[in-house]
Amino acid sequence: MGMIVLGLRNLLRNKIRLILVAILIGVPFFLLLAMNAIGDAVQRQTAVLAKNVNTVLQLRARGSMGHVNMVGQDRILPQDVPEKMRGIEHVEHVEPYLLAMAPITPPNFVMHVGLAPTAVKRLESHGEAGNPRIIAGRDFTPEDAGQGVAIIGQGYAQWAGIKPEDMGTATLTVDPTRTHPVIFAMERPTRELRIVGMYASGYVFGDLQLFLPIDTFRSIYGTAEGISWVFVKVDSVENVPLVAQRLRETVGDVADILVPESAAVFTATTSRTVTQLSGAGGLLAIALMVIVVFFVLLMTVRERAREIGTLKAIGASNRGVTLQFLTEAVALSLLGGALGLLLFRAAGAMVTGRLFALGIGPFLPSHYKPLFESLAVSTQVSASVLLLVLVVAVLAAVVGSAYGVWQAIKLSPLEAMKHE
């Protein structure tokens, strides 16, 4: 017990050495925590990328554009296709759409799109470009299902003479009998829809659509069953090739499946490498911490070989000397760890966030500046990570110190006292 107390008191004997050694241990500890936080931030961003980019697949009837009134292109998918797809692993959600063309003047056409009220409003020419901005009126709500309501693109509205201030009162008559060189007449009654909202997509063709609830679409065009397009959202870009394969096996006989497969594979492979590299950074930081702690303790003990000789000369046992030095080692590594943690908690957010952005930001291209604020490096450290790191550091300190002590106590007291 006495040697343990002596070991603890020894720490305070040479304050400069104590500070130096604590900093030497604390700095790699800080680095480890910082690398861990940066690795976490990178992995979070990678997960967002993998979840949201190149993860949407489109299905249409084989060889068809799937427009219910387009000459030679009116084949649509069987009604049960969405249900079959929902059962496939890694499919996050499935959104069915029905599409029809409608002529306008000067000669051109607009698209009528039936969808579930809460589904993404996809633009005909670029299905992945979704959810155009509502600029007047309101968006759909679940209560709109089956109702005679619609949301109109600003270009289509301009052609139809509908103004933004008319939302909720303006109406548009859908006439399935009207034709165009590629639109055939469907002998169905006209239907008046109340326009509840207006959207803007940012480009002219994108603004030539009318969104209406899918059940309303079915009743207007008499399409009791079938689907024009289905958009499938996969849970991660990693699983896109697998889901595409399953889709081909399940509905490939009736569906064309448009898959951003090459882009998905590239994104997945490169993201995986980035994640591995950030993980490797964490591993290397652990290795660095272990090595630094080991050598620092080894060096500090070697410097004190004369002290070990003196202790032996006044009758201290090898066990007692070892215990004293190991106590010092454990206390030093805990102190260094606490210093690193304190540094990280106190300065981590500042260093990783604003200070860094202010200090380095001006030297970077302008588009990087706002990204530092979205980097969101957290200074929270989980208890399990902290415990693991501390245990590893203490073990390295004990081994480094024990090795130095073992070398010194092998010597006679006289030899040890001569040893520099």
């Binding site: 030497l24 700095v27 961003q45 949201n52 980019v53 554009m65 030679g72 470009a129 063709f205 950030s278």
Partner: protein, 397 residues
């Protein structure tokens, strides 16, 4: 013996201590070299992603689907979207960020008697990607027979046809080894040699015919008219700025998947920022560690400095000797660092299948940085020693 020679020989005087210091520095420098190399590789991978993911902007005549019209359509941009648009695109303020442009001209070939009535004839530069209708930011067309178009095909009467088109309209079975021998396709009264068959895996996408742009113009006489221009931006970080400029052009629809572009820009940009930050942090912390190791390793030399002063060495000689010693130790550590880096690189390759080869510039940067920080670290005890009188210095250990 000069101070510099003494400094260079000094590390070999106490071999065990020097060995420990050199080993420690070698491992620290080696580890940091690997980490900086890793950060550099991460940055390179992120740049690859930024240059490839969601960087295509599709331009079409305003108000059109972009497939050459469906029977006399007159969209708003019908008269203005042409070869002249290419020049307008080159003059936008963010044109420096345009990596490449590919122009396409389409015309449908409608045969209502067939189940797949709408075939699409697409004129393109021979080396441009063969993008099927519906594919914007990627292309899945793969040659399954014959060859793709190439530079010498410009203006030649050749075509690459889709699998379905070949089967239904030309009676060609792509699986046959002699599928293409002497096969031709008639387009608007002209006969073209079929040099290749492609497949996207979809019937609609496999119902196209790709021909060289000049050949298309000669056959269909669309004049300067274009159907689509695909603009590839150098990085997803610049797509929104380039799109905003392109939207200012009259008669042009500039289309991107804006939500995905925004997500890709933010996530990849944040990762690039994190990596840059990690590199700088590594360099700074590596420097601090090296400096502290040297402080610890040389602080007991204050007595020696006192002895040197007692025998008449000048302060400048002591500094020179110390710097020479640091140089010797750092050089020894650099040799060890190469071995340590190779060892860590091997471990990473075995554990994570990551190829991390240390390049010369990284090693040079780390070694020079190591020397600079080691010199700074050793300055503290040296300056402390030379401020003391010889007697005080010799007592002060």
């Amino acid at each position: 013996m000069s101070a510099v020679t003494r400094g260079l020989r000094n590390p070999f005087r106490t071999r065990v201590r020097t060995g420990v210091v050199v080993l420690l520095l070698a491992i620290i420098i080696g580890l940091f070299a690997v980490m900086v190399q890793g950060a550099s590789l991460t940055r390179q991978k992120l740049e690859d992603l930024q240059a490839s993911v969601r960087t295509v902007i599709e331009l079409r005549e305003a108000g059109a689907f972009g497939t050459g019209g469906f029977g006399g359509d007159r969209p708003i941009g019908a008269d203005t979207f042409s070869v002249a648009t290419l020049e307008q695109v080159r003059r936008i303020s963010s044109a420096d960020h345009i990596a490449r442009m590919e122009e396409y001209v389409h015309t449908p070939e409608i045969d209502a008697s067939r189940p797949n009535a709408y075939a699409m004839i697409i004129g393109l530069r021979p080396t441009a990607p063969m993008r099927a209708i519906g594919e914007v930011d990627y292309e899945n067309a793969r040659i399954i027979a014959g060859r793709a178009l190439s530079e010498p095909d410009a203006d030649r009467d050749v075509a690459v046809v889709g699998r379905l088109y070949a089967k239904e309209r030309l009676g060609i079975d792509a699986r046959s080894e002699t599928a293409l021998s002497g096969r031709t396709v008639a387009l608007n009264g002209h006969t073209l040699e079929v040099v290749g068959i492609y497949a996207t895996g979809n019937d609609f996408g496999d119902n196209h015919v790709f021909v060289p742009l000049e050949t298309f113009r000669r056959i269909y006489k669309p004049g300067d008219k274009l159907s689509k221009i695909r603009v590839t931006v150098d990085s997803v970080a610049n797509v929104e700025a380039v799109t905003a400029d392109l939207k200012q052009l009259g008669g042009v629809d500039a289309v991107t998947a804006s939500e995905q572009v925004s997500t890709a820009r933010t996530t990849l940009g944040s990762m690039a920022a994190a990596t840059l930050y990690a590199s700088l942090l590594l360099f700074a912390i590596g420097g601090v560690l090296v400096a502290f190791v040297m402080v610890l390793a040389t602080k007991e030399r204050v007595r020696e400095i006192g002895t040197l002063k007692a025998i008449g060495a000048s302060n400048w000689e002591i500094v020179k000797q110390s710097l020479a010693e640091v140089l010797a130790v750092t050089l020894l550590a650099a040799v060890g660092a190469v071995l340590a880096a190779a060892l860590f690189g091997f471990a990473l390759r075995a554990a994570l299948d990551l190829e991390l080869r240390l390049d010369q510039s990284t090693l040079l940067l780390i070694v020079l940085g190591g020397f600079a920080f080691a010199a700074i670290g050793s300055c503290y005890p040296v300056f402390k020693g030379i401020r003391l009188s010889p007697v005080q210095a010799m007592k002060d250990t």
